[in-house]
C-alpha cells in the first residue's frame, strides 16, 4: 500500500505536461484561432490578415525557392562582413579605452552618447561614400554594430579582477601576452555579449538599408512583397527572419556560455 501511495505521489508530482507548457500551448492556439477568425471576419481589408493556410503555403513556397536562399546568402554575407569589420574595430577601441582611464574619460562619452542615436539616418551618407551596392549596407551594419561592441568591451575590461592583472605583471608578461593570456580570456563574456548585441544591430542596420535601396537581399524581398501586396509572402518572410534572428542570437549566447552566467 505504502509503495502504491509513493508511486501515485510521483505521478502527481511530475505530470506528463507541466502547467507552463499547457498554458503556452493554450496561448498559441488562442492566438492562431483569433488570427483565423480575423482573417475570415471581413473586418479588415482583404489579405491584410491572410488565413493561416495561405501563410503556410507561402512559407512552403519560400523555403523551396532557390532565389530566396540566394538573397538570404547576400544578406548573411553583408551582416557577416559588417560584424567582422565593426566587431573588430569595436574590440580594438574597447580594449584601448578599457585599458587607459585617461583615453576613456576623453573619448568614451562620445561613444556612449552616440551609441543610442538612430543609425539608419546615416544611410544617405553611406550611399554617397560607398555607392548603392552591398558596400553601403555593410557600412551601415558596421556603424550599427561598432558602438555596442566597443562599449561592452571597454566596460568588461574595467571589470577584470585586478589580481589577474597583477599576476600577469608579476610574470613580466608583455603587452601582447597580457592581451592574449589575461585580458581576452577574462573578458570572454563581455565580448560575447557585445558580439551578440552587435549582431542584432548589424542585422537591423543591414536589413533596413536593404529595404530602403537595393536590388537583392532579404530586406529587398520584404519591400518587394509590400510593393506587389503579396501579404502571405510578407508574413512568411518576416516569420522566417524572426526565427533566424532569435535563433542566431540565442546560439551566440549559448556558444559564449552566457546562459551559464545567468544560472550562477
Amino acid at each position: 500500500m505504502a509503495e502504491t501511495g509513493r508511486l501515485r505521489q510521483t505521478a502527481v508530482a511530475s505530470p506528463a505536461i507541466n502547467p507552463v507548457t499547457l498554458l503556452r500551448i493554450a496561448i498559441i492556439l488562442a492566438v492562431l484561432a483569433a488570427w483565423e477568425f480575423l482573417a475570415h471576419s471581413g473586418w479588415l481589408y482583404r489579405d491584410v490578415v491572410p488565413s493561416l493556410l495561405s501563410i503556410g503555403r507561402a512559407m512552403a513556397a519560400l523555403l523551396t525557392d532557390r532565389n530566396y536562399y540566394f538573397n538570404l546568402g547576400v544578406t548573411a554575407a553583408e551582416i557577416g562582413a559588417a560584424l567582422a569589420i565593426g566587431g573588430s574595430a569595436g574590440l580594438v577601441v574597447g580594449l584601448v579605452l578599457g585599458a587607459n582611464r585617461f583615453l576613456a574619460r576623453a573619448f568614451e562619452p562620445y561613444l556612449y552618447y552616440l551609441g543610442p542615436t538612430p543609425k539608419i539616418i546615416f544611410f544617405p551618407i553611406m550611399i554617397m561614400w560607398f555607392g548603392v551596392g552591398p558596400e553601403s549596407k555593410v557600412a551601415l551594419g558596421t556603424l550599427s554594430c561598432f558602438f555596442p561592441v566597443a562599449l561592452n568591451v571597454a566596460a568588461g575590461m574595467r571589470q577584470i579582477d585586478k589580481v589577474l592583472v597583477r599576476v600577469g605583471r608579476s610574470f613580466r608578461a608583455s603587452t601582447w601576452q597580457m592581451v592574449q593570456k589575461i585580458y581576452l580570456p577574462a573578458m570572454r563574456h563581455p565580448i560575447i555579449n557585445g558580439v551578440r548585441l552587435g549582431f542584432g544591430f548589424a542585422l537591423i542596420g543591414t536589413l533596413l538599408a536593404e529595404t530602403k535601396l537595393s536590388n537583392k537581399g532579404i530586406g529587398f524581398l520584404i519591400i518587394q512583397t509590400y510593393s506587389i501586396f503579396d501579404m502571405p509572402a510578407m508574413y512568411a518572410m518576416l516569420i522566417v527572419l524572426f526565427v533566424l534572428a532569435i535563433g542566431a542570437n540565442a546560439l551566440i549566447g549559448k556558444l559564449g556560455g552566457l546562459d551559464s552566467i545567468k544560472r550562477n
Binding site: T117, P118, L208
Partner: protein, 260 residues
C-alpha cells in the same frame, strides 16, 4: 593633505581628459575642412564643416525643422504614453500571475531581440503611410524593456516592505499602490528610459524609411535633393536631439533612484 588633494587631482585629470576629447573633435573638424579645401577630399561627397554649420540657419527658416522636431517629439510622446501604460500593465499582470510570467517571460525576451522595426511594411499596409505606422513602430520596439523591468522591479521589492504592508492589513490594491509600485518605480523607470530611447530610434528611422513625418523625413528629403550640407546638418541636429534626450532621461533616472 593627501586625502584632500586626491579628489582635486582626479577632477583636474577629468577636466584635462574632457578638454583633450573636445580638442580632438574640433581638430578633426579643422583637418576635414583643410583637406576638403585643398581638394584631397571631394566636396561633393563630404561638404566642408563650415558649410554644414552655415546651413543650420536654412534648416530653421526654409525647412521648418522646429515644426518637424515637434512632430517627431509628438509621435515619441504618444508612443511613450502608450508603452508606459501597456508595458506596466502587462508587466504587473505577468508578475501577479506567476504561471503567466513563467510561460511568457522568455517570449517577451525573445521579442526584444527580434528585428521588430522590419515589420514597418506590414504596418504601412495596416495603418497606411501615416503617423500611426510610425507611432506603432516606436511603441512595439519600446514594449519589451518596459514589461521586463516592471516584472523585475516588482519582484525585487524588499520583503520587509511587503511585510510592513501585511502588518497594516492592507488590501491587495493598497499593497500594490502604497508598497509595490513605489518600491519598483526606479527599476520601472529604467525600462521606460530604455523603451523611450528605442522609441525615438525607431520613430526617426521609420520616418526616414517611409518618407513621412518630422526629422527622419527631412533627412530623406534633403538627401533626395542632393543638398549635401543640409543633409549633414539635419543628421547633426538629430544626433544632438537624441543625445540631449538621452541625457535628460539619465538625469530623471538618477533623480528617481535613491542613493544606495
Amino acid at each position: 593633505m593627501t586625502t584632500a588633494d586626491t579628489p582635486l587631482v582626479a577632477s583636474d585629470r577629468d577636466s584635462v581628459a574632457r578638454l583633450v576629447g573636445f580638442g580632438t573633435f574640433v581638430a578633426s573638424l579643422l583637418v576635414t575642412e583643410a583637406v576638403i579645401r585643398i581638394g584631397w577630399l571631394n566636396r561633393f561627397i563630404v561638404p566642408p564643416p563650415s558649410e554644414i554649420v552655415a546651413s543650420f540657419g536654412r534648416l530653421f527658416t526654409e525647412e521648418h525643422i522646429a515644426y518637424r522636431f515637434f512632430f517627431t517629439a509628438g509621435e515619441c510622446l504618444i508612443a511613450g504614453i502608450m508603452v508606459t501604460i501597456c508595458g506596466i500593465a502587462i508587466g504587473v499582470l505577468m508578475q501577479r500571475y506567476k504561471l503567466l510570467q513563467r510561460s511568457c517571460e522568455t517570449w517577451v525576451a525573445a521579442f526584444a531581440s527580434a528585428p521588430l522595426v522590419l515589420t514597418y511594411p506590414l504596418f504601412m499596409v495596416i495603418f497606411g503611410r501615416n503617423a500611426w505606422t510610425i507611432i506603432m513602430m516606436g511603441f512595439l520596439s519600446a514594449l519589451p524593456p518596459v514589461i521586463l523591468k516592471t516584472i523585475e522591479g516588482i519582484s525585487g521589492t524588499r520583503k520587509v516592505l511587503v511585510n510592513v504592508g501585511r502588518s497594516f492589513n492592507l488590501t491587495a490594491t493598497q499593497q500594490f499602490w502604497k508598497i509595490l509600485f513605489p518600491a519598483a518605480l526606479p527599476t520601472i523607470f529604467v525600462g521606460i528610459r530604455l523603451g523611450l530611447i528605442f522609441a525615438l530610434i525607431n520613430v526617426v528611422g521609420t520616418e526616414f524609411l517611409i518618407n513621412f513625418g518630422g526629422l527622419g523625413q527631412l533627412i530623406n528629403d534633403l538627401a533626395e535633393r542632393y543638398d549635401l550640407a543640409g543633409t549633414y546638418a539635419a543628421i547633426c541636429f538629430v544626433i544632438l536631439v537624441s543625445v540631449l534626450f538621452f541625457m535628460a532621461l539619465e538625469k530623471a533616472e538618477r533623480w528617481l533612484r535613491p542613493v544606495d
